[in-house]
Amino acid sequence: MSTVLESLNAGLHGAMEANESVYILGEDVLDPYGGAFKVTRGLSTAYPDRVITTPVSEAGFVGVATGLALSGLRPVVEIMFGDFVTLITDQVINGLSKYGWMYGGALEIPLVIRTPMGGRRGYGPTHSQTLEKLFLGVPGLRVLAPSAFTDPGGLLRAAIDDPGPVLFVENKLQYQRRLDDPAFSALESRLQVQEGYATAATVGVAGAPRPQLTIAAYGDMAERAAEAQLKMAYELEIFSELVVLEQLDPLGPSGDLPRALADSLRQTGCLLTVEEGTHTHGWGAEVVARAVETSAQKLGIARVAAFDSPVPASRVLEASVLPDVDVIVGAAQKLVAALDG
């Protein structure tokens, strides 16, 4: 079980085995294809009656899954590309996230919507976006992102057990990340509960001096941030603590930062948020706002994100728009220099 993909796939197999109420719905999820990114591979062979391939009707089958969930089943829906969450916005915002609350609070909607976000594959403007920010701050919805630093399949299983709805944000390039990547063997990480069942991992270079900088990240950008962390430590003597959050929203109870992040920030006084989505109104904006609202000291602050542009198809254009390791390193350098100077 060495990649994020394998871990997620195993999580689905485990969940289906453990609970007969778990159903899979999505486009092209049947074997031998097993889904566009193979996360559902093997499931339809093992559980032919509980894997339902759907028409190309994202809003419709998310609605159908909501009906299943209201009826006590535990559907797990796949949206083939994260870009198509735009089609399910009404079902999510005016539907499944509200039904529990607005009908008086007693109903459960145990529904997971999984989808891969992200670019760097040249798929162009409608197949490369990182759009989870649309669903951050939707009351009644939990937004999770697995990480190779924690347990992707375990998080997915916990999401399936959640009595409420979850948007589970994967990333296309993340699928091939190794859980025990030897490139990260110099890093050590401390896990703690973030909120509910989500985990926060605090990652640092083993034996490094006290960190000057806190990096907050999730999903595939957390791995890139870790690469940047290593590079900074070895090449620039900039030492950082990377806080990887599995839960993007809610971040923490009532306006608070996740504790792992608050703890780190108290030490470093300096925050760099990292995400693949576009800069403006991204995840980082809320993290930054909470950080400054809850900090007594003046913090060093910067955000790394994609340019405020659609994602172009061309390799060079795409690379110029999406943040990579060097962009993280550059932003960190600038931030640390500004504080020193």
């Binding site: 159903y23 009656d49 339902i52 759907t54 028409p55 009707s57 809003a59 419709g60 089958f61 998310v62 609605g63 159908v64 899954a65 909501t66 009906g67 299943l68 969930a69 209201l70 009826s71 006590g72 089943l73 009404d90 079902q91 005016n94 539907g95 509200k98 039904y99 609350w101 607005m102 009908y103 008086g104 609070g105 109903l107």
Partner: protein
């Protein structure tokens, strides 16, 4: 009580409830909006006659009649419209977003149709013979998600009865400006058989519904029932752009209560009327006396 009397009473309860809403709205006891079912009572009563304990009902913005015909508590609905703690959803939902047992409604047109379809499918997956009845208007049929749902319902044999209450108007828009093709043709294009009737007679509707629901239940397949019906009151309150005559013409020919009345003797009608009037006024008064919700609940 005879069937005829029970239906009369059921329709009258809806009528008086809705009249009370319209009547009392200006006094400020209700907060928000309302869409009354006046003129369409025979649909809810004729159809929901045939559902059973495990069946579910999904309704729309015009949900009070469906709710009362389902067996919903009148005081709880009044209280919900007043935003009281005792409202069926504790005041959270208001007029358009109600829930009780297996009854649900949502105010976003069309968006409940796939959800209802999924509820139907759940029954089939579990292997029981529970069905789902979902109500929509002619106007809602502009929403694309409905057709996504119909396709899946037919593909996956979801035991759902899709009821279209075709009053040929959506808010102020006559059907001719909003709908091309035909309603049954739309269902059939997606493999869902559709039966269309033009009636405000609760017995006729009940007969059609009984057949359709039996087929849905036994065949485990979706069906549509399209009923030509009439909205007598404004869309919400005071927003009717139709002429007075046009509305009076509807009343004259197609009041479901008038149509059904001849099946009862006058004494019984009067008795029922008095009983219903009493029930409605008591429910209203009780709801009015109910407490406001605890604010912590909302802010949480």
């Amino acid at each position: 009580m005879s069937d005829a009397a029970a239906r009369y009473r059921a329709m009258l309860r809806i009528r008086r409830f809705e009249e009370t809403i319209l009547d009392k709205f200006p006094t400020g006891v209700f907060h928000g909006t309302t869409h009354t079912y006046i003129g369409q009572e025979a649909n809810a009563v004729g159809i929901l006659d045939h559902i059973r304990e495990g069946d579910s009902v999904f309704s729309n913005h015009r949900c009070h009649g469906h709710f009362l015909a389902y067996g919903g508590d009148m005081r709880g609905l009044f209280a919900e419209l007043m935003g009281k703690a005792t409202g069926i959803c504790g005041g959270r939902g208001g007029s358009q977003h109600i829930h009780w047992r297996r009854f649900y409604s949502n105010g976003v047109l069309g968006s409940a149709i796939p959800v209802a379809t999924g509820m139907g499918l759940a029954g089939r997956l579990r292997g029981d013979d529970d069905i789902v009845v979902v109500f929509m208007g002619d106007g809602a049929m502009g929403e694309g998600v409905i057709y996504e749902a119909l396709n899946m319902a037919a593909l996956w044999r979801a035991p759902v009865l899709y009821v279209v209450e075709n009053n040929r108007i959506a808010q102020t828009t006559p059907i001719a400006l909003a709908m091309a093709g035909t309603i049954p043709g739309r269902f059939e294009g997606f493999g869902v058989p559709a039966l269309a009737i033009a009636s405000s007679d609760v017995d006729e509707i009940s007969l059609a519904a009984s057949k359709a629901i039996a087929e849905v239940r036994d065949g485990g397949t979706p069906q549509a029932l399209v009923i030509d019906t009439n909205r007598f009151a404004p869309h919400s309150k005071g927003d009717d752009t139709r002429s007075q005559e046009a509305i009076e013409a509807l009343w004259a020919t197609s009041c479901p209560i008038e149509i059904h009345a001849s099946r009862l003797d006058p004494n019984q009608r009067e008795e029922l009327a008095a009983e219903v009037a009493e029930e409605v006024s008591q429910a209203f008064a009780a709801a009015l006396a109910d407490p406001e919700p605890d604010v912590e609940v909302g802010a949480a």
